[in-house]
C-alpha cells in the first residue's frame, strides 16, 4: 500500500495549560477527501495550523508521503507540498489574479518572466481542474466563489499535493458550494489529497471519503463516510444525542410589531447596500432573511437597530416611527422594546476584555436596578448576571470571568440572555449560531422558538440556510440589497438557493 499523504503521530499542543490537541493520531490516505469535523474549540484549527506551520507541536511527528517532515513555518509546509485555503482569504484585493498567484513565488527580481510562466501554468491548471478564472481580473471585482478559486490556484501553483480547506463554504451560495465540491472531486481524481475542515455535517456527507471527528482536542472517531450517518457524527461531535430538527408548532401571528417601508441604506463609500426594502414582522412569528453574506442583510438589521443610518425609507416599531434616517439611537430603541443580537458578537455584542457580569448589562446599564445614582450597583449587577448564567446554563458559571475566556456558544448565550431577559417586543437576531457548537445551537434555537411562542416578533438573519429554513415561519430572500422573494418554511433548498444567487423569481419557478 502506498504511504499515506499525511500521517500525524502523537501530536500534542498546549497553550499554557489548555490542551488544545491531545495525542492526535491521524492517517490521511493519498488521493482521498478527508473531512475533519468538530465543534468550535475542538482543536481542528489548531491541528491544521500545526500541519501548516503556524504553530509547532509540543510533541509528536508529522509524516508527509511516508517521510518524517519537520514543519516549522508555512514555507516548510509549502515545500512539503501542503497548501492551505483559509477561511478568510489571504488575497491582495487590488492585485490581479495573476499577481496574487505569483505573490511570494515571483521567481526572480524582475516580474515579467514569473508572470508569463505563471500565465501558462495557470492555463494548464484551469484545463486540468476546471478552475476557470480570468487571470487579469482584479481580485476585488471577483465574486466570493471565484476569489476562493484563486486561493486554490495559488496553492496548486506552489505545487501543493495536499490541499487543506478551512470552512470553505461559509461564504458561498449552495450552487457555488456544489461547484467547489465538483472541483474537489476533480482534484481527487488527479491524485491530490484534500483535507476539508467544516462544522457542516451535510458537506461531510456530500463530498468526503473518510471523516475524523474531533472533540475536546482529541480525535474521537474516524469513519468511512459511506458507513456513517449524520446522526452518528453529530452525536460523536457533541458526545451525546442531539436534536438536529427544530420542533415547533404552528405560528400564531398577531399584530404587526415591526414595519419596514422602502428602506434604502448606503455604506460609507456610497454603495447601495439595502435597496428599497419593505416587509412586516408580526407578533408571534419568526421572519427569516436568507442570503449569501454581503448582500445587505447586515446593513438591514443594523439600520433597524439604530446603529447605521438609512438614506431613505421608514421603519415603524409598534406603530411609531424609528428615526432611521436621523437620530435613531440604540439605547432609545432598547427602551422601546427592540432587542438586538448583533451578528458580530466579538466586536459589537460583547466587550471581550470585560468580566461576564459587565457584559450582561451592556446596553441596559441605564436601568436603575443596576445603579445607585451615578454609581454602579455592583452587587445587583453580579446577582443579575448569576441569575442569567443559571437560567441559560452559561458555562463556566463564573460571572467574574473575562468574557474572552468563554467559548463561542457561551458568549452567544450571554448576549441572548441579556437581550431576551428584558422582555422585548421585537427581537432582531443576526447569525445566532455563527461559531457556536452544536449543543448550544439546539439551545439557542429552542429559545428563539420560545420567544415566538411567547408572542414576540422575531427577525432572523442568517447565512446558514438550514437555520433559516428550520426556524422561520416566513423566509425573505435578499440579493444585492433587494428582497427578491418571499417563501414559506417549506421552500426547497434549491429554490431558495436560486433566489439567493440572484436568479429572478420567475425564472426560478420555471
Amino acid at each position: 500500500m502506498a504511504p499515506a499523504a499525511i500521517e500525524l503521530k502523537g501530536i500534542n499542543k498546549s497553550f499554557g495549560a489548555v490542551h488544545a490537541n491531545r495525542d492526535i493520531d491521524i492517517e490521511i490516505p493519498k488521493g482521498t477527501i478527508h473531512g475533519i469535523i468538530g465543534e468550535n474549540g475542538a482543536g481542528k484549527s489548531t491541528l491544521m495550523s500545526i500541519l501548516y506551520g503556524f504553530y509547532q507541536a509540543d510533541s509528536g511527528e508529522i509524516f508527509v508521503d511516508g517521510k518524517k517532515t519537520d514543519i516549522q513555518t508555512p514555507n516548510d509546509a509549502i515545500a512539503a507540498g501542503i497548501g492551505m485555503v483559509h477561511q478568510h482569504f489571504m488575497l491582495v484585493e487590488n492585485f490581479t489574479v495573476l499577481e496574487n498567484i505569483i505573490l511570494g513565488a515571483e521567481g526572480s527580481q524582475l516580474l515579467n518572466a514569473g508572470i508569463s510562466r505563471a500565465r501558462s501554468e495557470l492555463h494548464r491548471l484551469e484545463q486540468d481542474y476546471g478552475l476557470e478564472v480570468d487571470p487579469d481580473a482584479v481580485v476585488e471585482e471577483l465574486a466570493v466563489g471565484l476569489q476562493q478559486r484563486v486561493e486554490i490556484l495559488k496553492a496548486l501553483y506552489r505545487g501543493a499535493e495536499i490541499l487543506i480547506l478551512d470552512e470553505p463554504t461559509g461564504v458561498l451560495t449552495p450552487a457555488e458550494a456544489d461547484h467547489l465540491f465538483r472541483i474537489l472531486r476533480m482534484l481527487k481524481d488527479e491524485g491530490k489529497t484534500v483535507v476539508l475542515i467544516t462544522h457542516k455535517l451535510r458537506e461531510i456527507m456530500a463530498v468526503t471519503d473518510n471523516v475524523s471527528v474531533m472533540r475536546q482536542g482529541t480525535i474521537v472517531a474516524t469513519r468511512k463516510t459511506a458507513a456513517t450517518t449524520v446522526e452518528e457524527l453529530a452525536e460523536l461531535m457533541v458526545g451525546r444525542r442531539v436534536l438536529l430538527r427544530v420542533d415547533k408548532g404552528e405560528p400564531n401571528p398577531a399584530a404587526v410589531k415591526l414595519s419596514v417601508r422602502n428602506l434604502t441604506v448606503k455604506d460609507s463609500r456610497g454603495v447601495t447596500m439595502v435597496n428599497d426594502v419593505s416587509f412586516d414582522v408580526r407578533a408571534g412569528e419568526i421572519v427569516g432573511v436568507a442570503g449569501v453574506a454581503g448582500n445587505g442583510q447586515s446593513e438591514l438589521i443594523e439600520t433597524i437597530a439604530g446603529i447605521r443610518k438609512a438614506v431613505s425609507g421608514t421603519v415603524m416599531l409598534d406603530g411609531k416611527p424609528i428615526d432611521v434616517t436621523g437620530a435613531a439611537d440604540p439605547g432609545e430603541l432598547r427602551d422601546r422594546g427592540l432587542a438586538h443580537v448583533p451578528e458580530d458578537r466579538h466586536h459589537v455584542g460583547l466587550v471581550l476584555p470585560f468580566e461576564e457580569n459587565e457584559n450582561a448589562m451592556l446596553g441596559y446599564h441605564d436601568d436603575p436596578k443596576f445603579l445607585n445614582g451615578p454609581f454602579l450597583n455592583i452587587d445587583a449587577i453580579r446577582a443579575d448576571a448569576r441569575e442569567k448564567i443559571q437560567k441559560y446554563d452559561i458555562r463556566p458559571a463564573d460571572c467574574r470571568l473575562k468574557t474572552a475566556n468563554f467559548s463561542g456558544g457561551n458568549q452567544q448565550k450571554i448576549v441572548l440572555a441579556r437581550e431576551m431577559e428584558h422582555d422585548p417586543g421585537v427581537l432582531i437576531v443576526g447569525q445566532p449560531t455563527r461559531g457556536v457548537d452544536v449543543g448550544a445551537i439546539e439551545f439557542i434555537h429552542k429559545q428563539l422558538i420560545a420567544m415566538r411562542d411567547g408572542g414576540k416578533a422575531v427577525l432572523l438573519v442568517s447565512v446558514e440556510l438550514d437555520e433559516v429554513r428550520s426556524l422561520s415561519d416566513r423566509i425573505l430572500v435578499m440579493f444585492d440589497g433587494r428582497l427578491v422573494g418571499e417563501r414559506g418554511p417549506d421552500a426547497t433548498e434549491g429554490e431558495l438557493g436560486l433566489l439567493m444567487a440572484g436568479v429572478e423569481a420567475r425564472e426560478a419557478a420555471e
Binding site: 497553550f15 499554557g16 495549560a17 489548555v18 488544545a20 474549540g41 489548531t46 437597530a305 446603529i307 439611537d329 440604540p330 439605547g331 432609545e332 432598547r334 438586538h340 448583533p342 458580530d344 466586536h347 459589537v348 455584542g349 460583547l350 466587550v351 471581550l352 476584555p353 470585560f354 459587565e358 451592556l362 446596553g363 446599564h365 441605564d366 445603579l371 451615578p374 454609581f375 454602579l376 455592583i378 458555562r395 463556566p396 463564573d398 470571568l401 474572552a404 475566556n405 468563554f406 467559548s407 456558544g409 457561551n410
Partner: protein, 379 residues
C-alpha cells in the same frame, strides 16, 4: 483558545513583570553610564541616596511624584477611553493660569483653605477647556487627537509666554512671571509629616497637593470601575462599535473623557504654582505632562500602579539631579535616557519577557497555572 499565552497569576502580571522590565531598563542604563566612563554602581548609589537618603531628598522625590500622579492619571483616564492624550503638558500649563487667576484675585481676601478649592476648580476648569477643543475636533471632525493635543501644547506655550510677558507681569518687573502670591494663597507644606518620621529638614517643596493627588487617584479608580460613566468610558475604549450598540453617544463620551483628563492634568499646576513657587512662572511644567505618559504606561493605567510609578519617576528626577551634581560626565540628559529606557521596556516591550516567564512558571508550579487554565477551559 485564540490567546497564544496562558494567563499569568496576578502577582506575576502586575508585580514581577514590571520589576523585571525596570531591572532591565536600569541594567541597560548602567551600560550607558559605563560607556561615558563612570561607575554604574556609584551612579545607582547616588541616585538612591539622592532620592531617599535624606528628608530633603524624600521631600523632593514626592514633590515631583505629585505632579506625575496628576498627569499620569490624566493620561490613564483617556487611555481607558482608547484616546491618547499627549496634551497633558499644555493642559497643565494653562491649568496654571486657573491657579494664578484664583490666587491673584483672592490671596488677600480668603484664607488658604478657601483659596485651595477655588484653585482646584480654576485649574481643572481651564485644563478641561484646553482638552475639550481637541476632543470636539476629534468627535465631530475626526481630527486625530494625538495630532491636535500636541499642537495644543505649542499653542498653550505661546499663550502663556504672551500672558507672562504681558498682562500678568507686574509693571516694572523684568521677569516673565506674575507677582508672588500673598501667604493666604500658599498651600501648607508637608515637611512636618516627614519630620514625624524622624527626618530633619529645613525646607521642602512637598505640599498639600500631594494629598490631593492621592485623593484623585482614588477618585479615578471609583470613576473608572464604579460609575456608569466609567463603564461607558471603558466600553468605548475597548470597542467603539460595542459602545454604539450599547447606546453610548460617541461624541459625548469622547468630549467628557477628554475634559476629565484635561482637568486632572490642569490640577498638576497646583503643586508647583500654589505649593512651591507661589507665582506663575514660564515653563513651570518642565515635562511633567510627558512623564505622565510614561507613568500611565508603566502603571498599566491603574491608579494603584500610577502612584508607585510616579514615585519612581520622582526618584529619577531627584536622584538624577544628585548624580549630575556629583558626576559631571553625566548630565541631566542621562536621566532622560533612563526614562526613555523605562518607557521602552515597561511600555513598548512590555510583553518581551512574558512568554519565557510563563514557561518558567509553568514548569516550576504547574498547579498555579493549572488553576487559571481550568477557569479558561471550563467552557
Amino acid at each position: 483558545m485564540s490567546t497564544p499565552y496562558a494567563k499569568l497569576p496576578a502577582w506575576a502580571d502586575y508585580g514581577l513583570i514590571p520589576v523585571i522590565n525596570l531591572f532591565v531598563a536600569f541594567a541597560v542604563a548602567g551600560l550607558v553610564v559605563l560607556l561615558v566612563g563612570e561607575s554604574p554602581v556609584q551612579a545607582a548609589t547616588l541616585l538612591i541616596k539622592g532620592a531617599f537618603g535624606s528628608g530633603a531628598g524624600i521631600g523632593y522625590t514626592l514633590y515631583y511624584a505629585t505632579s506625575f500622579i496628576f498627569t499620569g492619571l490624566a493620561v490613564a483616564v483617556a487611555f481607558h477611553c482608547g484616546l491618547f492624550n499627549i496634551g497633558g503638558e499644555g493642559q497643565a500649563y494653562v491649568g496654571g493660569l486657573g491657579v494664578a487667576i484664583v490666587c491673584l484675585s483672592f490671596d488677600s481676601v480668603f484664607p488658604w483653605w478657601v483659596n485651595f478649592p477655588l484653585a482646584i476648580l480654576g485649574s481643572a476648569a481651564i485644563g478641561a477647556f484646553w482638552a475639550m477643543i481637541p476632543a470636539i475636533l476629534q468627535a465631530k471632525r475626526g481630527s486625530h487627537i494625538v495630532i491636535t493635543t500636541i499642537m495644543f501644547n505649542f499653542i498653550a506655550a505661546s499663550l502663556m509666554v504672551y500672558l507672562l510677558v504681558g498682562p500678568l507681569k507686574p509693571a516694572n518687573s523684568m521677569a516673565p512671571q506674575t507677582r508672588t502670591f500673598a501667604q493666604d494663597a500658599w498651600l501648607p507644606k508637608l515637611g512636618w509629616v516627614l519630620e514625624l518620621f524622624g527626618a530633619s529638614i529645613r525646607s521642602t517643596p512637598l505640599n498639600l497637593s500631594f494629598v490631593l493627588a492621592l485623593v484623585m487617584a482614588v477618585v479615578v479608580w471609583v470613576l473608572i470601575w464604579r460609575t456608569k460613566l466609567g463603564y461607558e468610558i471603558r466600553t468605548y475604549g475597548f470597542s467603539p462599535k460595542a459602545a454604539k450598540y450599547a447606546g453610548v453617544g460617541e461624541a459625548r463620551i469622547i468630549v467628557v473623557t477628554m475634559m476629565l483628563s484635561g482637568a486632572l492634568a490642569g490640577m498638576m499646576a497646583l503643586n508647583p504654582v500654589m505649593g512651591d513657587q507661589h507665582r506663575l512662572q514660564l515653563d513651570f511644567v518642565t515635562g511633567a505632562g510627558f512623564v505622565g505618559i510614561a507613568v500611565a504606561l508603566m502603571g498599566r493605567s491603574h491608579p494603584a500602579g500610577i502612584v508607585p510609578a510616579a514615585i519612581l519617576f520622582g526618584m529619577l528626577y531627584q536622584g538624577g539631579a544628585e548624580i549630575s551634581f556629583v558626576m559631571p560626565n553625566i548630565s541631566r540628559d542621562m536621566i532622560v535616557i533612563i526614562q526613555g529606557l523605562v518607557i521602552l521596556f515597561a511600555g513598548a516591550l512590555e510583553h518581551m519577557f512574558r512568554p519565557s516567564l510563563q514557561a518558567a512558571l509553568a514548569s516550576l508550579s504547574p498547579k498555579s497555572m493549572g488553576m487559571n487554565a481550568t477557569k479558561r477551559e471550563g467552557a
